[in-house]
Point group: C2
Chain length 224, copies 2
Amino acid sequence: MISPGLATPDLADCVVAQRAITADQSVWEDVDSRQSLYLVESGIAFRFTYLANGKRHIDDFYGPGSICNWSRLKNDEYICNITFKAGARFTLLDPGRTAETLRQNPHTHSVLNQIEMARALRVSQRVRALISLPASHRIAIFLLDLKEEYRLSGIEDEWTPLALTQDEIADVTGMTVVHVNRTLAKMEQADELERAHGSFRLTSTKRLEAQLGYRRFVPKRGER
Amino acid sequence: MISPGLATPDLADCVVAQRAITADQSVWEDVDSRQSLYLVESGIAFRFTYLANGKRHIDDFYGPGSICNWSRLKNDEYICNITFKAGARFTLLDPGRTAETLRQNPHTHSVLNQIEMARALRVSQRVRALISLPASHRIAIFLLDLKEEYRLSGIEDEWTPLALTQDEIADVTGMTVVHVNRTLAKMEQADELERAHGSFRLTSTKRLEAQLGYRRFVPKRGER
DNA sequence: CGACGACTTGACATCGATCAAGCGAGGTGG
DNA sequence: CCACCTCGCTTGATCGATGTCAAGTCGTCG
């Protein structure tokens, strides 16, 4: 079943397979499926790269309704490492058939394009912050992005699942686990953040967004 | 005259105007032309953003033959700040006519797409490094990217113009001018770098690339 | 129970930012 | 022509932010 968030039953014909993940699983361990597009149904996934020094960098993360490797449609060489976190479910789409389907459904195509454009802007905004701002801001913008990732899939709750481990957050933000831990603790002490049961809540999202100049990029006529 | 590097006389009809820059000039000072595509003919330009704390972040830089705001073609809302450095010359292209021309010249379109794809990969590689690596590596990858920017426009010399000031390099890499200065000095002392007359030379590009895992993304059938 | 993974904490070392000052080349006005 | 200014670069001293190493806690799962 295609994610309700996507609102594109058009793609039903393109489905190659469905998977449910019980333990964290990386896609390069699963060469057969690398030819597909990955549509997250539930749970979360992230895209990552190993740097020359062995460090893992997490480039982006994908909540329900997101396609992890959309660029493959434009560039068949595009290959990326993806990890699905335990509990995730996802659908494999055939890129060729998907491209064809989208050609025939310009509306759907434009919706998906808008969604991807919004994601790209979100990433570039985050990246600027990660390059130039101090740790507390880096963490804050990560949390805002995570929240946004869920919001766009229709899950808008005051509490957001903190779906990544502190190790993974460190690899997103270019920090150390220790420092991530301390920064989160500091935010909690400063009453900017609450954590409970694997979820988090920002005390004043508004203020944080204003302070960081955080911008939301809403897909233009997105159905979701 | 369209840059010889681009090899796309097809675009001649799309030219709106040409400009030569004597002193550094930012495009948002020049509202009239914001509607256009910017094609760098010579010299260098960069795209930047001001963060909430007033810091300037330089997102990318463009050598001869590059289009600074290619994304405008896909998203008319796409607006970015661009600065042309003193000595640059550039051409303004009408986005509507350019899009039409490219529709009629799939070959040219695909070439330009490849070039942009290569740029996107270069940026994301640099961004990873800037987020996760220590200062010396951040500077090194910036220098490699700058060299590559010139190489792709056909200017392949052992010496590359160090076209940005140390202030600007700081804004690319998220460092301070002082630290940029010291890092460059250290590289020079370690015989990894030579500087003279506003240009630089890397003693062993090969070794540096290997050490950083630097990848070159070559446009597929790019004419240039 | 034992093992493991995620998280937490402390002590310490290093990196990079900040502040302050000076230098040298190019431009401008008297 | 010189005096003066500005801008980009350089250097030193000091401070704060972040990484490193090491150990310990807590919950989960077999």
